[in-house]
Symmetry: C2
Subunit: 82 residues, 2 copies
DNA sequence: TCACTTAATTACCGTTAGGTAATATTTTCA
DNA sequence: TGAAAATATTACCTAACGGTAATTAAGTGA
């Protein structure tokens, strides 16, 4: 599939790596720095680094804060929808 | 809106409370106990209790494990989609 | 190439997540 | 209503989250 120039609709998160990679890609696409996010989301730079690198133990509320800062939201659904 | 007997398609998670409430409701609908989940997801019962009660600091990977056990998946998307 | 920006690492450290196991409380239903 | 099942709480404990601040490394653009 050709995803070039195709706006992202949604990404299924199967692992913390998936989330980290997506957050990084999306952040960069928004031309934001890690410092921008950590400032807006009231976290340390360290948290952003760890999140983007897929740390499994990041805390949920902080993740939600970062997603909100990026204009993203989390959805739960049954497996296999598309 | 009448949601009775309407299969859940997706739930937007704006807070850890949202997630906890949804997990509980879904688990009960599946006729599973907390012990069932904690067994299958390799966590303690304590984690399930805390997750369902909306603890903000639950760790992401464990949440993903529980969702997987329930046949659910996490999706990230831009805000405001429906 | 070199200066500047951004990202990553490290040390320090108080707080706490969450496992287990025991106990208590609440819910369920025959 | 009473016993069993399910959920919640507690104590004990180790590992480690994540903030700050300083430092280092990596990336970028003129």
């Amino acid at each position: 599939m050709d995803n070039i120039n195709k706006p992202i609709q949604s990404v299924t998160i199967k692992s913390t790596q998936d989330l980290g990679s997506f957050v990084r890609t999306f952040r960069v696409a928004q031309k934001m720095t890690q410092a921008d996010i950590s400032g807006l989301a009231n976290t340390g730079n360290r948290f952003i680094v760890e999140l983007e690198n897929g740390k499994p133990t990041v805390q949920l509320q902080k993740v939600l804060d970062v997603l909100d800062t990026l204009g993203l939201e989390m959805v739960i659904q049954r497996k296999g929808r598309y």
